[in-house]
Symmetry: D2
Subunit: 390 residues, 4 copies
């Protein structure tokens, strides 16, 4: 354990800094998951979650990590051998497509350079080519946690619509939900995949599927074997406020509290706050003379910023220095980006001054690690934040 | 919410009363799941878990409920169409066999009357008949949470050995681990299934597979599709102290603390405490003139006691009265036992005086609900506890 | 530390079992004691406290133990050499009179046998004899924590009124407030002394003075030196929501929560619950063939019950056995009652089933310690509780 | 309540940000204050406190605010009418001298300009003039929380010694203990006054007197009335691990944890950390073109920095803007400094990045409030911190 004064700065792009309120809520005694008090808890949580997803239909809660919700989205809607179209946007989209393959699906991957989001035009081309409608699902990662690039989901939806393809649209919002504007119903998403440990400000341990009418219909004929992930018994039991197997009670306490905090701040304010912090971070990165990984101005993530280092500099060494000297955790480059980038998480329970501290640590760490930067990054961020505060 | 003084009595057979120490441990800030402090946590937890299972081999931890660990045990060791032999001991053994069927296994169920454990002699007969060794796994629920009957796992092991059958032995210890004597290695179990919310004294949200060498070998050729539950990547990542997907960090904090508490008390003392409370509970039930559901003296559960009501009395009404009047939750009869029994959980973080309070509430509740009982149940339990304390 | 399963039974007559809700409330981050959020906290707490004391006038909160509030009541209203009349009801009334002496007051003590409350008739006699009105204050302990005897404060008030004596009436409610019916205004009390760690269900660390108009007037001319305890600056600062020195912020969080819990249950229900538990405890004591210390049926305490042991039996040995065998703390005999009694606390956050467990531990402990008792005490208590539940 | 993401920045010079570890430790159930587990707690806490004060003699713990410990230091060592010599260093030294007057002491105040510490030469002059040794105590505030000026206690000690005056030396370390180097024994202090809510990282509610042999001797003849504050019964009871009245149990839990944290970091490291943050803060203030209140380079506080605003600018308006826009609390100017300064607390549980965030908020707030500053303060602080980290 790092021994020094003050709180650790957990600036990875999730798990995020869990608010004290949420931790205290989770510390309440576990209750009978078949009793009346539990039914009220379930109903309160489900009622609060809908607006967070922008979904009027069912939201299924799993005791699992977000990876489980990826699997759930697939096994509930698809059959062995079904074709799925996935866009390679980074490490996590790659993991999801590998997962799909292991479940027995035929995965068609649109390659990407890990600096852009999913390409709606290319998706449209692929779907057009699929004249027999063998592609049953299009899978997109809304916010690529490994790159800090946000895919434009409404444009993907428009791509499907423009070619009249009936494939389901499955979207991973693990690191965007409750941080970056997202609208399950309005954008015509069929399954939204999410997890607890990012914008929802909880520890890891819960994962979610928000489900459209069309996905529910697909569920009835989907042939992949499933039991734990099966939507049916969960939705049925939820009607009465219960779950078909023991739910993660104390995390649900935390979820109720986190949803209350989001409602108090207001989702539009939450989104604006994330955008402000992302913009201030980019201002700092550019003032240092470094490059943001995301290459399309329309696709900068509100949740995290990935910073490219100049050739010859090891991002993991920068992270090591920062952890040792300033007790701050940053995200590593993953997969083919290992050592080339580091990622600054600025999502969840976070504010202007914590961002300033974060960027101060990054600036000092870069300098200590010998990365040639121009000073003034923190001042640039301060400038941005001050203007926004006015 | 029930409004009265004092703490709720959560005397269902799980989730159990989570110790304050564990709740406080869980309230620590979430840390970077890829950092050095996390690696220490993982290693500490895995080192502490082995003795709890009596296992020197790997123990896999899932962010999931116990139901997930049932699924994990099957998908990691079996292939589509494999035959499995299961003993019907109650509601949960039935759920497990249904789950196996949904995954595409051929399930052969040995029927039972829900008042006895798995029958080793009948298992031996079935295996003898399986001359071609098509049965790939024998599944047994160590402690049937729905009935309070404990199956004699060593005798089941002996049954397999006596007929020289190579099937794997999969055992559900969800409501027995850390409450009733259990020995994964010594008893020759291949996969032990467990959950966090019973004897481990945690909230629900973690589940476990302890794995034998033989099960690891089976894993290499097992053909059921799997991803989330796949042992391989977890065991590999655990070597370095990490997980292939985001683990349930705060529940792991609680697990570390709970294992420390078990070690402080000493597992043999923990088991003896549960036996003492079970015996005192049976003394009370019999003094009331009521019948314990478990019909074999060798098979009484240390975790819970199911109480049969006389005909014409509704156990759920008794439970309702007790919840309303005395703020205590008891377990309902499940499946075909609905309304006929209630279940008293006396497992986990529990002691003599809390048991006395529990039995006092049951006695008063039975009387208030009009069930004809002889007084003196609590006194009989006190007698037993006092003698044990001497 | 005692190592066994389950929660400790803290059945001393205070500090009492602090509810989880209160402990969690206290775990919130400390805030600026001069900021707007703090002012809201102060105002909320003061508004909630008034009804608990039955006082419309000021209630002063000290960061101190109850002993400090004793001192505060005296130094704020009296001058060096003033005469005060105190009734010896037990150990704590004795401590309070000794304290008064140390502050330079002339203390006149009405002796008592530690089995009765203050004697209103004798108080009237003493006051009648004080023709020159030199007695400036009459001090009474409402509930003697050392004996389980409650003084009849309205009768004491009537005694003062009947003889037309202008002395102030100062009442210690440390172990009665929020447990036993008490009414500062209605009963004409001038200063009510209280502490946080009993019926208010908080840890120790806050103490209180509720103050009448008459006491405020006396304060203006009172000549005892004072600074920390001085009401004036506190009442003045409280107007704006602040304190003249740093207040006990986190205990105030707990106080806000505890007052909310009292309001949810309703004070009349709280009082009735304490009376029920006291009556059930006496039923047990008498069924055991033991004697309750309190000798006047009108004066039994709702907060605790002191139990006299037969000659030749050491109450501290009984307590030691119970702590060792059953992890329960009981109150010792204090002062001249050392070894002769033990005290069962049944106040604060407490309910029927916890009382049953408590009495079960007492019964077993008495037997294990070789005290000759009749069995059946717990059954007698159960009988009482069951009837009350009907 | 301020509704925004992230944690509040509590940068007043106390109460300070309480570490999560301490808050969780305080959330443990209250125990019997007369039982064996409590005795262990007391002994552990007292053993840990000695090194923090640099005292081998007794340290007395009060359930009170620091103000109470001021009073305790006086009433335990002095008699009515005794003369005490006090140095006016700011608001708190003034409050302490007023308190002394209210207790009946004759207070001689050495006037000061609130920008310097106590003047050892002037103290020597006053003591020399006191040929009959009527001055019984010299009182000094080690760190003036209202000004950010630290008095040179060793020089004050030398002043007493140089003139051979027998007066006691009483020192207030409320905002310096465990933040700024301090040595009770080595510096020949007779009573050290401290509180829980600053460098000790606890919520308010505990206060301390560390006591020399000479002070203990003075205590035996000191004639001021006292009861709650009386050292004698506390020191006697502490021998066996107890207290003469109910102690602040849960705050003691927190104190044990906080002392453990100080020991883990090491007091010299703790002091160095505070010095580093103070120096970085001054670097920022000077880069902004503003003036630090403390006028003597030898006397800058490690705990806080008071910043003078240019004429015509209201410091409270700056604070208001910062609280509203950036959710940070700063200290107000007190007494005659109201509106002229604000105070930045950088003591307690605090680290480099939180300081950077703090200074970022101050910089933006000054700009938003229209105070003319040069940019670059935060960069200057970063420069300092980075050099120190190397």
């Amino acid at each position: 354990m790092h021994i020094t004064g003050g709180r650790h700065f957990l600036q990875i792009p999730g798990p995020t800094n869990v608010p004290d309120r949420v931790l205290r809520a989770m510390a309440a005694p576990t209750i009978d998951h078949r009793g009346p008090e539990f039914a009220e808890l379930t109903k309160a949580v489900l009622a609060a979650l809908g607006p967070v997803f922008g979904a009027r239909g069912p939201v299924v809660i799993y005791p699992s990590s977000g990876t489980g919700a990826w699997e759930a989205a697939l096994v509930n809607t698809l059959s062995p051998g079904d074709r799925v179209l996935m866009s390679e946007t980074g490490h996590f989209s790659t993991l999801w497509s590998e997962l799909a393959g292991r479940l027995g699906l035929q995965v068609e991957v649109i390659p990407g350079d890990w600096r852009h989001g999913a390409d709606p035009a290319e998706i449209a081309r692929r779907l057009t080519a699929d004249e027999r409608h063998e592609i049953k699902a299009v899978c997109v990662v809304h916010n690529e946690t490994s790159t800090g690039v946000t895919s434009r989901v409404p444009d993907v939806r428009a791509a499907l619509d423009s070619v009249g393809h009936p494939a389901l649209l499955l979207v991973d919002t693990i690191s965007s939900l409750a941080s970056i504007d997202y609208r399950h119903d309005e954008w015509g998403v069929d399954v939204t995949v999410a997890g607890s440990q990012k914008g929802l400000m909880l520890p890891p341990g819960l994962a979610f599927n928000a489900i459209s009418e069309k996905a529910l219909a697909a569920n009835r004929s989907a042939g992949l074997p499933r039991s734990y992930w099966d939507w049916g018994p969960i939705i049925a039991a939820n009607e009465r406020g219960f779950f078909p197997y023991t739910p993660g009670t104390n995390l649900l306490y935390g979820l109720r509290e986190a949803c209350a905090m989001l409602a108090e701040e207001g989702l539009p304010n939450v989104f604006a706050r994330h955008q402000r912090h992302a913009a201030a971070t980019r201002a700092a990165v550019r003032a240092w003379g470094l490059e943001v990984l995301c290459a399309d101005e329309r696709e900068h993530s509100g949740s995290l910023t990935a910073v490219l280092l100049p050739d010859g500099h090891d991002a993991d060494e920068v992270r090591r220095v920062i952890l040792e000297k300033f007790d701050m955790s940053l995200g590593a480059g993953l997969g083919k980006l290992t050592g080339k980038i580091f990622r600054i998480g600025h999502l969840g329970h976070f504010n202007d001054l914590t961002l300033v501290g974060t960027l101060g640590g990054v600036q000092m760490g870069l300098q200590l690690a010998g990365v040639p930067i121009k000073p003034g990054g923190v001042e640039a961020a301060l400038e941005h934040l001050r203007e926004e505060a006015q």
